[in-house]
């Protein structure tokens, strides 16, 4: 595909018969394969499935049928999202050969809308990481600066959009895994309201925090993809029944009178250049007629601790299923059932996953449950209350996504606590379950992208997209 085509350009090209969906898919696949060595962003290319789907789209067009809002659009899918018959590894050695027996609901919906899945993207093992260095299949390099990380855990899904090897992609976000890589790679990344997109077929990391969401070159394409995958699903009991509005109708470029809150707690640790670019973005929106209000979200300082207690506790339970019985990998050196469990897990999980299983088991264990797990659940309620209170006086909140731009490969890998602290501005929105996104807001003097984070109240994605789109129109 031609580097950075938008969904609209692809649809126009198909309508005018400039190219067919099959031609586009073939070109996209060969381009993506030829440059993958640079970034290691794809773990697998799904040729057969892509070409079959593209032929179906071409047939629908030839028959004069409406092929759907994603017709012919090359899409990449993070390798924690199940694709029937197409290997799904979660970036883990333990699932190296796992071939799912069913599709995730988000995958079914994007294909029903005409989307063409060209491959599965690399990620931190079981989506645990902030740099994509925890993949069992090697790190992803940031296409903007190859000696730097793309962010994590959806680093591959951000990199393929930045690189132009997929038009849009799906990622997953538990504590910032969509917004932070979007910010590091200079693309748009959206974490929808918890429950907005079905988690059916998303391999569970922390069930009360896991989201599926889109990456795209621009706000309009991200909104288009979200609209396709959002909506109630009987296969996920936490999926929300609320109707999905037409997000594109909200993209009118008008932010006059919109009340935007700027939380002072989110500028304390940000490096000068990151804070400066975000402040400039806020000023741009003010000049467009938005009202800027300084606000306070007082519990922010405790969010990282809260997040790592709760997410590791849930992970320790969710990852218990990888025991050598059902999921492809079993240690060959075990005579008893108990040794088989222990050895299979010990030999095949990576260091970060082991660390989190240990931490999660510890905070749930007898004698520590109240002090860590129950306490963190209460602080989660306070963090959520901060947002509920703020949204009584403002329509949206603006903040940095990360305190700093993409860091060098290897820079933080030996210091887990420092790595965890880099999630400080994204875990808050995840804990509250509100929609939040990253939209590019400029480059540092080293040429590294910085993202502006926009957070809105539950199910208020339309307003979030309106603000992001208005900002994008001004700066593009």
């Amino acid at each position: 595909m031609n580097g950075h085509m938008t969904i609209g350009e692809i649809q126009a090209g198909l309508r005018s018969r400039e190219f067919s969906a099959k031609e586009l898919a073939t070109k996209a696949l060969s381009h993506a394969e030829s440059v993958n060595e640079e970034t290691n962003a794809y773990l697998l290319f799904s040729h057969a499935r892509a070409l079959e789907q593209a032929e179906l789209v071409d047939l629908q067009i030839a028959e004069g049928k409406e092929p759907g809002p994603l017709a012919g659009v090359p899409v990449a899918v993070k390798d924690v999202i199940l694709t029937k018959g197409v290997r799904t590894t979660c970036g883990s050695k333990i699932l190296e050969r796992f071939v799912p027996p069913y599709d995730a609901t988000a995958v079914t919906r994007l294909e029903s809308a005409g989307g063409v899945i060209i491959g599965k993207t690399n990620c931190d093992e079981f989506a645990m990481g902030s740099s994509n260095e925890n993949s069992a299949f090697g790190p992803v390099r940031n296409p903007v600066a190859l000696d730097r990380v793309p962010g994590g855990s959806s680093g591959g899904s951000a990199a393929v959009v930045a690189q132009g090897t997929a038009c849009v992609s799906l990622g997953s976000d538990t504590g910032g895994s969509i917004r932070q890589p979007a910010s590091f790679c200079g693309v748009v990344g959206v974490t929808p309201t918890y429950g907005r997109v079905s988690r059916y077929g998303l391999v569970a990391f922390a069930s009360s925090l896991d989201h599926i969401g889109p990456f795209a070159h621009n706000v309009r394409d991200a909104a288009t993809l979200l609209r396709v995958i959002a909506g109630h699903d009987a296969l996920d009991s936490t999926s929300a029944a609320a109707p999905v509005p037409d997000y594109l109708a909200a993209l009118d470029g008008n932010v006059r009178g919109v009340k935007l809150g700027v939380p002072k707690e989110y500028f304390k640790d940000a490096t000068g250049e990151t804070a400066g670019l975000v402040e400039r973005a806020i000023e741009v929106l003010r000049l467009e007629g938005a009202e800027i209000h300084e606000i306070s979200l007082p519990s922010t300082d405790y969010a990282v601790d809260t997040y790592y207690v709760l997410s590791t506790a849930e992970a320790s339970s969710n990852l218990a299923r990888y025991d050598g019985v059902r999921y492809t990998t079993r240690s060959p050196h075990s005579d008893t059932l108990s040794d088989m469990y222990r050895n299979t897990r010990g030999e095949n999980f990576g260091a970060e996953v082991k660390r989190r299983i240990m931490l999660g088991t510890y905070v749930l264990s007898h004698g520590y449950y109240d002090a860590y797990y129950l306490k963190a659940q209460k602080v989660r309620a306070l963090i959520t209350r901060d947002f509920t209170d703020a949204f009584r006086s403002v329509d949206a909140i603006l903040a940095p996504v990360s305190p700093f731009p993409a860091f060098k490969l290897g820079e933080k890998v030996n210091d887990p606590m420092q790595m965890y602290l880099s999630d400080i501005y994204t875990v808050t929105g995840s804990l509250a379950g509100i929609p939040c996104m990253s939209v590019p807001c400029g480059l540092t003097t080293d040429g590294l992208p910085v993202g502006l984070q926009i957070l809105c109240n539950h199910f208020d994605e339309s307003r979030m997209f309106r603000i992001a789109d208005a900002f994008e129109r001004i700066v593009k």
Binding site: R97, F98, V99, P101, Y102, T193, Y194, G195, S208, S237, T238, S239, A240, A241, S299, Y302, V304, D305, T306, Y308, S316, G324, V325, Y327, T328, T329, R330, S334, D335, L337, M340, Y341, R342, R345, G346, F349, K354, R355, M358, L359, Y362, V363, S365, A371, Y372, L374, K375, Q377, K378, V379, R380, A381, L382, P416, M417, Y420, A432, G433, H458, F459
Partner: protein, 99 residues
């Protein structure tokens, strides 16, 4: 010290996770630092605050209930397809009972 190597061994046992001696030392070191940071949670007053286990928003109580209509299940062959060892329609595991 928040956590000793002895406790790390105990937790690894609970988690069914075999760790090498080197890993035990590393995990003890990392968890010690992480737990010391997490102890800050004790500073914040949560008197009378209900613990939050799930994201809550306004919706009717029955919003997530569906009709109880039978659907075809995955099926035995598909469910066993990824098993490292299967036979006669079952997952096979090492012997559990000593003879």
């Amino acid at each position: 010290m928040k956590i000793t190597e002895k406790e790390v061994r105990y937790v690894a046992d609970l988690a069914n996770l075999k760790l090498s001696e080197l890993e035990i030392a590393q995990v003890a070191h990392n968890l010690d630092e992480i737990l010391a940071h997490m102890d800050r949670l004790g500073e914040i007053n949560t008197d009378g605050v209900e613990p939050m286990a799930q994201v809550l928003y306004d919706a009717p109580e029955t919003a997530t209930l569906r009709d109880d209509v039978p659907r075809p299940p995955l099926g035995n062959d598909a469910a066993l397809a990824n098993a490292p060892l299967a036979g006669a329609g079952y997952f096979k595991v090492p012997r559990v009972i000593e003879r």
